[in-house]
Amino acid sequence: MLLTSVIIVLRETLEAALLIATLLAATRFTRISHSWLRMSISGGIVGALLFAWQLRWISNLYDGLGYEISNALLQVLIYMVILVLITLLLKLYLGATTKEEPLLLFMGLALSLSIIREGSEILIYLSGFIHNRETVSSGIIGSVIGAGVGFSFGALFYFLLSALQKKLSFMIALGLLILVGAGMCAQASMLLMQADFLPSQRPLWNTSSWIAEPSIPGQLLYALIGYEATPSPLQVSIYVGSIFISLVVAVISYFFYSRFTNTKANATP
């Protein structure tokens, strides 16, 4: 019971913790306060409560495939928010704007959506043993340990990125956001295969003997870049396609906003 709850809660908190670390690393060049974290975490928890509470109803939609559809939708939504974030981050970084509110809003949105997805699973798990007196204490202790370990990984990752130069940590964080987004799309496609909306295919390769998915490195990579040991050709194409779209968005934003910086630089003297 103790170990099970540690593992489940660790797995689910890791993604949110690493997302927080990445977003904080990406905004090191700004002077924004961290109040957006409090807001979006509490917003995410409220959303997770609602989602967990209504999951029975959601699951029964579309002939019992509502679980897959709702989760895939959440993941695609996170990808779209990440695309907006890439643009906003570059806009602020290149000095084309000084307004930070839109960035805060979309960072909060990405985090809240991620907490809704992962948090609801923890809540559903907790709801299973909360009435059982024998298991409730070990379950809660395990959950607290799991959450603690998950957030420690996030903190460690943030401090690793903070040790780098601001420009480098911005670039790495931007690259990671692109990979997180691609991971979301690949996961969404897997759910749609599970629901038989997309065709299932034989895996393109099998790397489980190198990095097994249930292992700690496997789970870290899964949370960070959407690692999958046996992806199908369609999943790989969706992953690569999402990276491509993000890169196009990043390059266009870069050239568009650096033009602003240049005109400003020319106008000042």
Binding site: I8, D196, R202, A212
Partner: protein, 118 residues
């Protein structure tokens, strides 16, 4: 006249394509073999199922417990939360022959099973 003929041919080809790409998956969905598994006292009953290779299967999992469970398999790339006293549908396959373990993530010590593909 020639253009009309080519146009008709094109239409015909398109219709055939529509039949192949739109209707066939619908027909295929109707024909998928159904296998049912129960979750009772945090156990999968039956815990072993055998399915033919290279065939898509519709799994219906009935959670007879009052507590939720999460069907999870690293080998099958499947995960789905199943609330207490409810039924979930999961499609698996087409798969090459082999043994694909699955487990209940919320009760991983007892809820264990495998799909044997022959």
């Amino acid at each position: 006249m020639k253009t009309v003929k080519t146009w008709i041919e094109l239409c015909y080809q398109r219709t055939t394509c529509t039949i192949i790409f739109v209707l066939l998956p619908v027909l295929a969905q109707a024909e998928k073999p159904l296998i049912e598994i129960n979750i009772e006292q945090h156990l999968f009953v039956p815990s072993e199922i055998t399915i033919p290779a290279n065939t898509k299967i519709k799994l219906r999992i009935h959670n007879r417990d009052t507590t939720p469970e999460e069907f999870e398999s690293w080998e099958l790339n499947r995960e789905k939360v199943i609330m207490g006293n409810s039924t979930a549908t999961i499609f698996i396959g087409p798969l090459p022959p082999g043994i694909y373990p699955f487990f209940g993530e919320f009760n991983p010590k007892t809820a264990l099973g495998k799909v044997i593909v022959e």
